[in-house]
């Protein structure tokens, strides 16, 4: 006769249930699917399922020429479109050893920083919305319009610009560019105080996010969490500081570092970065040298056979472009190390034992752009 054993403690695993956050869920900002294992409201574990917006960009790159690849990089992290372009442009220029005019370097730096500001503005808007403050969303988008208007005037498009080309720029900046950027800086320095007033100083926001989703410095390094998310944990990983490109070595700016590594400090890190970006732009905007807007390039670009790596600092972290060339006009293999993919990896670790509401806040503070995860 079989002995019946009564377990005194109910099996914890049985009390867990799963919910699917996404692919259609307002807080994942795209088609990311998180299979969350919950016990009551507490997150026990979660599994990200990627691939809902996989377009095979890396494979497509293998049949495209280098100037064509620029247009695909826009579609990865569409909020840092310029900076993605920058990675491939620098890679090609370094491989061909082309000297880019100073003017181009200045303009690229300014536009990269404008891109960073508009990306952080949208992040701020969505962060506020995820915490339930819907008004933030409209404030953030309102101010982002100003940058998009500047972009539209100079490059003719608002989201996917493909403005950088290997060797320089697609065309020169609009004559109004400098004036409008200065106007924007003046405007936004006033508006960023509104941001602080409506969200940063709000006791509900600070109490909801302080001590939530703590990412230690060791974990940030182990999981390769870069960008503001990593720097909030004290991981000094700013590519602009450590491996300067364009004119980042000529400007004064502070690498925003915190040691706490919680959701609130990831928020602070991005808010500070917006201010630092404005400082960088202010230093450069009046000093753009005259000259050509592009170096003389050959009609068909063929990279010498070999391996090349170029990293840039996007609004979300380090973007690496790793290229193997066999000497043809198309790369043999082009691999992107996208910041969001690595940052997503840490989500499970830092959101365990927190509530669903915290998971949403942590997700918002890591600032995912889903097409960059899947590519």
């Amino acid at each position: 006769m079989k002995e019946v054993i009564h377990t005194p403690v109910p099996d914890i695993e049985e009390e867990e249930y799963h919910i699917n956050m996404g692919p259609q869920h307002p807080s994942t900002h795209g088609v990311l699917r998180l299979v969350v294992s919950l016990q009551g409201e507490i997150v026990k574990s979660l599994k990200p399922h990627c691939g809902y917006i996989h377009r095979g960009i890396e494979k497509m790159c293998e049949k495209d020429t280098y100037p064509q690849i620029i247009h695909l990089t826009d579609r990865m992290d569409y909020l840092s479109a310029h900076i993605n372009n920058h990675a491939v442009c620098l890679l090609v220029e370094n491989a061909l050893q082309v000297e880019v005019p100073e003017r181009v370097k200045y303009i690229r730096t300014i536009i990269d920083e404008l891109t960073r500001i508009q990306s952080h503005q949208l992040w701020w808007a969505c962060y506020g919305m995820d915490l339930g403050g819907l008004t933030c969303f409209f404030y953030g988008l309102r101010d982002r319009e100003h940058i998009l208007d500047i972009f539209e005037e100079s490059f003719g498009s608002r989201l996917l610009h493909s403005y950088y080309t290997p060797g320089g720029l697609m065309q020169d900046i609009h004559p109004n560019f400098q004036k409008r950027v200065k106007e924007f800086i003046k405007y936004f320095q006033k508006k960023i105080k509104d941001y602080d007033r409506i969200l940063t100083g709000n006791v509900i926001m600070t109490e909801r996010t302080r001590g939530i989703g703590i990412l230690s410095k060791e974990d940030a390094i182990n999981y390769a969490v870069t960008g503001p998310s990593g720097r909030a944990s004290g991981f000094s990983c700013d590519v602009r500081k450590h491996y300067p490109y364009s004119v980042y070595d000529k400007v004064e700016f502070r690498e925003v570092l915190f040691t706490e590594g919680d959701t609130l400090h990831r928020y602070y890190a991005r808010m500070e970065e917006m201010r630092e970006s404005m400082k960088i732009i202010e230093q450069l905007i009046d000093n753009i040298p005259e000259g050509e807007y592009s170096a003389k390039m050959k009609a068909v670009l063929k990279l010498p056979a070999g391996e090349y790596y170029q990293r840039v600092e996007t609004a979300r972290g380090e973007l690496g472009a790793y290229c193997i060339s066999d000497g043809n006009k198309t790369p043999f293999r082009l691999k992107f190390r996208s910041p969001n993919f690595s940052n997503l990896g840490v989500l499970d670790k830092i959101s365990r034992e927190h509530k669903i509401a915290d998971l949403v806040a942590i997700g918002a503070s890591l600032d995912f752009v889903i097409p960059d995860i899947d590519r």
Binding site: P26, S27, M129, G132, Y139, R142, I204, R208
Partner: protein, 362 residues
Amino acid sequence: MAFSIYDFTSFNQAIDHALYASLPPVLAVIVEMTIIGLVFLVFYAVVGLFLVYAERKVCAFMQNRVGPNRVGPYGIFQTIADFIKLLMKELISIKNSDKLLFNLAPFIVIIASFMAIAAIPFGKGLQAIDFDIGILYVIAVSSLGVVGILLAGWSSNNKYSLIGAMRSGAQIISYELSVGLSLLTIIVLAGTMQFSQIVEGQANGWFIFKGHIPAFIAFILFLIASTAETNRGPFDLAEAESELTAGFHTEYSGIKFAFFFLAEYMNMFIVASIAATVFLGGWMPFHFSGWAGFNHVMDYIPPFVWYLGKTAFVIFLMMWFKWTFPRLRIDQLLNLEWKYLLPINLVNILVMAFIVLMGWHF
């Protein structure tokens, strides 16, 4: 039959007498109830639609938008158009849902708010039932709505709905205490639970001024607790759209969704009415003792205008902080109630009782 916009008592009595004179008593009661029911139905729809419009406009202005401005002048018919759309929508039935409870839930929510509206004095003589335990009745009835929310979440066969419903249950049961206790503070001052007498008691000054600081604290506590009780932001955890998509009413469509939607706005209207009646004098005009001329001018404004104005003010306050603050988390929400609001409330009642005992109030 004397009709006056300042006092509906004689008008109502005239109708009452005419009905009883011409009909047998049972029939007269039925006719009266039907008339009142119809009046409330129309009132309910009008107020609900207006509040939806007002919320959209207020939030639009806070968010640098224009809000509805296409249907009719300033978009005033927008909500009517939306409502017609909701009426015509298909009622989707959910697989594996508990059909009976699923269909019952919106009615429980809407009946609860309907019952609460009956006891509210809209003007002098404009009150369906004047219970002598009016406040107790309203508190009891308005908290019935949570049953509907729990049923909706439970029967939808959706985990998000269930989480929303459970949050809502915990929230409303907790905040019910603060609502009750803050009203109790004023009952101590007023010495009655009857709405008509509470309003009459404020003829020479509203309770929020008469009761010194405790009355003011009670008003603030009531505002916080009642916002939580109506599931509105920053306490809208039950429908937290960024976490639970829409919480307990995710699976509802068409008119059943409209019931939840209307009930939410009517609950807001009801708690604002109670706040206006108990703290701000209800339909009683603003009076200063001693300023006869000023008081006389104030009396020219009809009572229901006073009442609606005060209610609109409280509603505006609630919309204001809904569109400014982020949402709380469930543990913070319960901490706020049990660790802060409840102790403050208890001390507040003691202070108020002491003031009343010593006769220090005005």
